[in-house]
């Protein structure tokens, strides 16, 4: 190593410079987050009021709100959860309990790779399999798109959580004569439940911010809509449409809607963090 020839003082100097630089990187990242969040809070609070939260959008100059978008987002999230969570959790249980062979390894690999597939592609996929056959944009199509994004995430976190359950618990139940399915359902799953719920909540938080897969599935709407076969508004698409509009008033509304969405996501993320810390 050529380093031997460099004086000790110089080596120490290099070391402390690099140490400072890495700390600086972390500091910059934290600063960027605080700047973004602070800016959202500052711009968002101005346009936020009760009527904004309950009214439907109106033409420029007449106010209007995001009530239908909030309702729409929750409908889409509920749909995605109803479709995605059972499949995701079941696939995760399969991977943890039976996924030792080649097939399990393949599914694990596909799940990890699917989490990296761009959400816009999932939107195109949902368009071809739901919107085209039904011949219209719908909440259902949006829910299917979001579910496709959730399934691999939930499957992998569920698997990790179930793997944390000690083997002695299973062995104890099996020794008492319980069949394997009872052991999994009555012993292993309850033991891993808080972890699985955490993973599910994080997956919901993740898809609640998705815009791209909703653009041509749920599409958007100016009205309250509770029908699953009709186009439905969502916070993210609303933010996007307002952001790229030329009107200052709509820009202000985009910031206010962003504050609402960001609050939802932060509450889930930080809440989950504290819940899990208390358990461990």
């Amino acid at each position: 190593m050529q380093d031997v020839n460099i004086s000790a003082a110089r080596r120490r100097a290099i070391s402390s410079v690099m140490t400072t630089l890495t700390a600086l990187c972390a500091f910059v990242a934290v600063a960027v987050l605080l700047v973004i969040l602070g800016y959202i809070a500052w711009r968002g609070v101005g346009a936020l009021n009760w009527r904004f939260l309950v009214e439907t959008p109106k033409p420029v100059g007449e106010g209007g709100g995001i009530g239908n978008a909030i309702v729409g987002t929750f409908i889409l999230l509920a749909l995605a959860s109803v479709i995605g969570l059972p499949i995701g959790v079941a696939a995760g249980v399969y991977l943890a309990e039976f996924g030792t062979g080649r097939f399990g390894q393949l599914v694990r690999f596909l799940a990890d790779t699917l989490t990296g597939v761009p959400s816009i592609v999932v939107g195109v996929f949902a368009y071809t399999v739901v919107v085209l056959p039904l011949k219209q944009f719908s909440a259902l199509a949006g829910g299917v798109a979001l579910a496709c994004i959730m399934i691999p995430i939930v499957a992998r976190t569920t698997e990790e959580m179930i793997r944390l359950v000690p083997h002695s618990l299973r062995e104890g139940a099996l020794a008492l004569g319980a069949p394997q399915w009872r052991v999994t359902l009555d012993i292993v799953l309850p033991a891993a439940m808080s972890g699985i719920a955490t993973g599910a909540m994080l997956a919901v938080a993740r898809v609640s911010g998705e815009t791209a897969p909703l653009l041509f599935t749920a599409f958007g709407s100016r009205f309250f809509n509770l029908y699953l076969d009709q186009p439905t508004a969502s916070l993210t698409v609303q933010i996007y449409n307002y952001a790229i509009s030329p009107y200052d008033e709509w820009h202000a509304q985009a910031w206010a809607a962003t504050l609402v969405l960001m609050t939802l996501i932060l509450v889930i993320n930080i809440g989950v963090r504290f819940m899990t810390r208390r358990k461990v």
């Binding site: 890495t22 910059v28 990242a29 079941a90 696939a91 249980v93 790779t113 990296g116 761009p118 962003t258």
Partner: protein, 337 residues
């Protein structure tokens, strides 16, 4: 786990349908319990959904892009024409925009995310590392559309007023940094992408570094290495995993849609200047899908989706294999996803 022996088939079942059924039951439930077989079959179905998703994504998009596939063939990838009026479609400007903005993002993001990961694993005391790691993970929780909003109203003006004029003055002899300055273009897209992929790369590199055995560090320190020299030993050990993390970040950058769409200018052109507006594969799909009139137009957009899927699938698959090679046996892979 196979705690119980499978029940041996009765002689009557040794041949024919009975034997086949018994073999099936044995594969599904080595315990020989009918409930177990049913349970396992149900779970298997859910696991198959993942397989089915991948297969049907490829099939559905291929089927819906056959018009464009047939009309343009491989020329689709090399043609610069994108003209809905005349029905001419080529993907080259979008491929160019995607590649350049993603590489730009990596260029900015890789040093920073490596620094973050090194700081968190090798240098920061535990009490500091945990909250800082959590805050940086929150960066990854901010939705793309919010980055885009911030990009339009904060980042783009800052780059236009302060950063791009300086770059043009100091490095203006580079063709990359010439031309009119608008704040909306490849550079802004690259910067916003860099911010978005930094927490992802940093999180995976962190897992990879944590998987390096502590004995490596102890050995380096025992030989009299300084802190930084020890870190270099660790980095060398984790090299393939770090490469995986970077490729994973690249995959994210390639497919990132909303934020880029909002700041890159959305003009299908190939310009040497980073200040110039451009267009990515993901953003042309986002922008034009609902307005696509005519079957061939829609078909071309679906084909772009198919290309994006295949590229990110291969990129992510490669990254996963690299990262798994280093972190296998540790629980890091879940967060890496």
């Amino acid at each position: 786990m196979r705690p119980l022996q499978p029940s041996p088939p009765t002689p009557a079942d040794a041949y024919g349908a009975g034997a086949r059924r018994a073999r099936w039951r044995e594969t599904l439930a080595p315990t020989g319990n009918a409930g177990d077989a049913l349970f396992r079959a149900a779970l298997l179905l859910a696991a198959l959904v993942l397989l089915l998703l991948v297969v049907s994504m490829i099939a559905a998009m291929a089927a819906n892009s056959r018009l464009s596939l047939r009309a343009f063939g491989f020329g689709f990838l090399t043609s610069r024409a994108w003209n809905p009026v005349t029905g001419q479609f080529g993907a080259l400007p979008f491929i160019y925009g995607t590649v350049v903005s993603s590489l730009l993002a990596l260029l900015i993001s890789v040093p920073v995310s490596l620094g973050i990961a090194i700081f968190l694993v090798e240098q920061a005391p535990r009490q500091l590392a945990r909250p800082v790691a959590f805050i940086i993970e929150l960066l990854a929780a901010i939705p793309s559309v919010i980055y885009g909003l911030w990009g339009i109203f904060v980042l783009a003006p800052v780059l236009r007023e302060h950063v791009e004029p300086l770059l043009a003055r100091w490095l203006g002899w580079l063709p990359l940094l010439q031309g009119p300055i608008t704040g909306i273009g490849l550079l802004t897209g690259g910067v916003i992408l860099a911010i978005m992929i930094t927490p992802i790369i940093a999180a995976v590199v962190r897992d990879v570094l944590e998987a390096v055995p502590v004995t490596q560090r102890e050995a380096a320190l025992a030989l009299g290495a300084t802190r930084w020299e020890t870190t270099r030993v660790v980095l060398a050990n984790a090299a393939s995993g770090i490469a995986g993390a970077i490729i994973l970040g690249l995959g994210r950058a390639i497919g990132e849609t909303m934020a880029v769409t909002m700041v890159i200018g959305n003009r299908p052109q190939i310009s040497a200047s980073l200040f110039a507006p451009s267009y990515t594969i993901a953003s042309v799909i986002a922008n034009e899908f609902t307005e696509a009139t005519g079957d061939i137009y829609l078909s071309a957009l679906v084909e772009l989706g198919l290309i994006l899927f295949l590229v990110t699938f291969v990129v992510n698959g490669a990254a996963k294999l690299l990262v798994w090679g280093v972190t296998r046996g540790t629980s890091g892979t879940a967060r890496a996803a």
